[in-house]
Amino acid sequence: MYSFDMERPTSVADAVKALARDEAQPLGGGQTLIPTLKQRLAAPSVLVSLSGIAEMKGVCKTDDGRLSIGGGTTHAMVARNAGDIPGLASLAANIGDPAVRNRGTIGGSLANNDPSACYPAAALATGATVITNSREIAADDYFEGMFATALEEGEIITEIRIPVPEKSAYMKFEQPASRFALVGVFVAKFSDGVRVAVTGASEEGVFRWTEAEEALSANFAPEAVDGLSVSGDGMISDLHGSGAYRAHLVGVMTKRAVAAAS
């Protein structure tokens, strides 16, 4: 790793101040950033650790019935405390491994927006709101492609506010080595319709499968997806599967998510 300083603010305000320094970079749980630093693929002058900010941790219900999750909440805490959204709790319980889940955070994952990460599917499928130190961003406006988001330099995700669906489930087909999502599908059924978000598959990152949403809004049953397909064009094609294979898995995982939704 290159040399850098470490700051450990205890409030969002102090963190924002620290991030104003030249080449400053926020450090969430570090489960992606630290391996990147080891490869010398990033050279921050200072890392601003967010793990000491108590106000960014925890899961609670808001007055309007949404689930509020602090940006610094670890996957393990989400898995334990997001039972109102079973799909989200099980998603969090299956990210990485237990030790990773004890460090990695929902805010860090959403800020990184790895095309194979799980949380983006949950955020997009539930129509969550990403709340930062300076504004609120709707999930539909937040994800801007692989590793790209609407976040500005120095902006911190302090909270994610998630509407509670009637039913939800996340189905992940794991890439055998990394165990990230080769394809992951989050299905969320609300009273006014169904949203389906797909991660792992597209070169553009997480996306909504609107065709399936329409079919499932009309009939929330696995067979409603029969006959629907996404195109293999624009899908990631690599050592672990072709674009066509990923496109096929989108259908399979969607059906399974619908079947499992609770």
Binding site: S49, P98, N102, R103
Partner: protein, 161 residues
């Protein structure tokens, strides 16, 4: 350089660390506690697992500065007070849950974290919990057996042989 103080295996320790000093490096290089191992650089193998404030973490993927004030337990702190092997360590020996020993510290630390959360895990739960601990020698069979035995379950009744 910043000064960090933490409790390691019940003993208070302090040291000067750089911003980029990993917790593993602090343990291995500064404290010369070499039981915690490094087997990869992508946070996957789990040879470096320690407990920080009671939770399993990968010490190669956490900075020493972030452990300032924390309570850290490593493999060196796992034996009973009289120096004898604790119940998990004993089970690993009894069931031949280790061969070369390199992944073993991380395995024992993960096993201890699992049994704290889930005192009587099913076999599937044990296997699932070990997702972040890679062993190349044992084929896991005897590790799983050892962990289940350490939880007080009768593995002889389950195993086919």
């Amino acid at each position: 350089m910043t000064n960090v103080t933490m409790t390691v295996n019940g003993k208070s320790v302090s040291g000067e660390v750089k911003g980029n000093t990993l917790l593993t490096d602090f343990l291995r290089e500064d404290l010369r506690m070499t039981g915690t191992h490094v087997g990869c650089d992508t946070s996957q193998c789990g040879a470096c697992v320690v407990h920080v404030n009671g939770e399993a973490v990968k010490s190669c993927t956490m900075f020493a500065a972030e452990a300032d004030g924390a309570d850290v337990t490593t493999i060196e702190g796992m034996a009973n007070a009289d120096g004898s092997l604790n119940v998990i360590q004993q089970a690993f020996q009894e069931y031949h849950g280790l061969q070369c020993g390199f992944c073993t510290p991380g395995m024992v630390m993960s096993a201890a974290a699992l049994l704290k959360e889930n005192p009587k895990p099913s076999e599937a739960e044990v296997r699932d919990y070990l997702e972040g601990n890679i062993c190349r020698c044992t084929g896991y069979h005897n590790i799983v057996k050892a962990i289940m035995a350490a939880s007080g379950q009768d593995v002889a009744a389950v195993a086919a042989e």
